[in-house]
Symmetry: C2
Subunit: 280 residues, 2 copies
């Protein structure tokens, strides 16, 4: 597995880099960014994966979230993958901002023509961690995951499906119940096909009812979020948690919207949350 | 003076907004961004102006520098203007990234066709502060200024020319001696004309020798900065400071480049520097 360094720059005493490689899962060149905190060369650190939202790339979170300062303080390696394969030229891939390129939804597609390439779940949970653990100073198997919006959905689903691998899970304004909202219906309908019984394996509120996550989950939600009514459904996650005794810290913040200004404002709490659970 | 709200979003308990207005100084619509920290409505705060570098806009610093957290903590209002007038259609204005649009150099042009519009010095030191003090919860006359690269030049020049108004000055990788480097020669040659005696009023290293700033100045410089050799000349500022007894904290950082990753890494120190001097 060969990784190309696109850029590496000093930041907070560590290194922020953008890398690319030929992905086996997607059949495309994939990019990801990594922040390595100071001191990691001498003592490998836990890896915390951030999954970004619709239209974002591997750069968005690193630049806009203000997370690196806290990752440096806590000694966490931050990893941010891209949000989908790119440049495949599949029909419809570029037609809308909430489907196709930039909108991989962190699942493994089952319907054509997406099936062979839109495999962001396997990419994020297997191929990318293998690359990271081989090439960066991280502790193998010591992972946390968090994300925003579509990436919050991804983080919740990945944590709930792999509690043995991911020790900490949090999300900003996640799509909590995608089978029941327009974004999810559009994406799942195309990627997974019309049989809705195939969708449930990728819905955090449904997964949680089957098997809660063994630790508490942190979710922040802005109350002026322009997508709160209709797309996010934190109340579905809350109901699922209540039904099965899942510990859930769901914080509703008056006045905050869906942007990275919202994420910035609460990012310190998320880094502390993961650091505590990953044992930095 | 009428200001249009382009956006206003909650961030760190305060508000980040982008605003526009018809500028008297430039004869164009100008945009600026403002972060108002929590509590400012009840008790107005000092205003700290950030001047960005070549190609940047009023948004760059607010999104990329990670400054808002610290401004909220210290109770500082942050103001970031655009880097030049835009859309004038002057010949040559769009031909290069280091001159014209996005490259106003924070001076008042004296040569045609720039003279009537490229008046960023008067804009930043007079027109914009008047707008800010009229429309935002800031303490009148309690100002600090800092900036990056071309904006570091701007901050140093503005502080040195107006020590009674600006109580605190700092810079990241400033163009310290523009009359002697390609960026400055190109910009000053066009904006000010070929008579180099007209240039000295806009060069920090020369201004400092005439009249030092009454307080210490903080400058951070990365030693892997791709523009350090040839464009920035921190040694000129250092020599000027030594010659006239100017207090100067010039920190050279191994491994850091010219980017906002560098700025992020040391932004907390700059906010603390200004907060201490502005008496928040």
């Amino acid at each position: 597995m060969s990784v190309t360094v696109r850029s590496e720059q000093a930041c907070f005493g560590g290194t922020i880099g953008v890398y690319s490689h030929a992905s086996r899962e997607t059949g495309t060149e994939m990019r990801f960014s990594v922040f390595v905190p100071p001191g990691a060369a001498a003592r490998p650190r836990p890896a915390l994966y951030f999954l970004a939202g619709l239209t974002c790339t591997e750069e968005t979170f690193m630049i806009k979230a203000g997370a690196l300062r806290h990752a440096a303080d806590h000694g966490l390696v931050l990893v941010a993958p891209d949000t989908s394969p790119r440049g495949l030229g599949l029909p419809g891939e570029e037609d809308s901002w909430d489907f196709g390129t930039g909108a991989g939804f962190y699942l493994d597609a089952e319907a054509e023509p997406w099936r062979p390439h839109y495999r962001m779940y396997s990419y994020v949970t297997r191929e990318l961690p293998a690359l990271i653990e081989a090439g960066f100073p991280v502790q193998a198997g010591r992972r946390g995951v968090f994300g925003h919006s579509m990436g919050g959905h991804g983080a919740l689903v990945i944590g709930l499906r792999n509690p043995e691998t991911y020790r900490s899970v949090s999300a900003f304004a996640p799509i909590c119940n995608p089978v029941a909202v327009p974004w999810g219906e559009k994406a799942f309908g195309h990627y997974l096909g019309p049989d809705r019984s195939r969708w449930t394996a990728w819905d955090a509120s449904l997964l949680m009812r089957q098997r809660p996550f063994p630790d508490s989950i942190l979710v922040d939600q802005g109350m002026k979020d322009q997508f709160l009514d209709g797309q996010l459904r934190p109340e579905s996650l809350e109901s699922a948690a209540a039904a099965v005794g899942q510990k859930l810290v769901l914080r509703r913040h008056e006045g905050y919207d869906h942007s990275y200004w919202f994420i910035q404002s609460f990012i310190a709490d998320h880094l502390a949350w993961h650091a505590e659970r990953l044992g930095t």
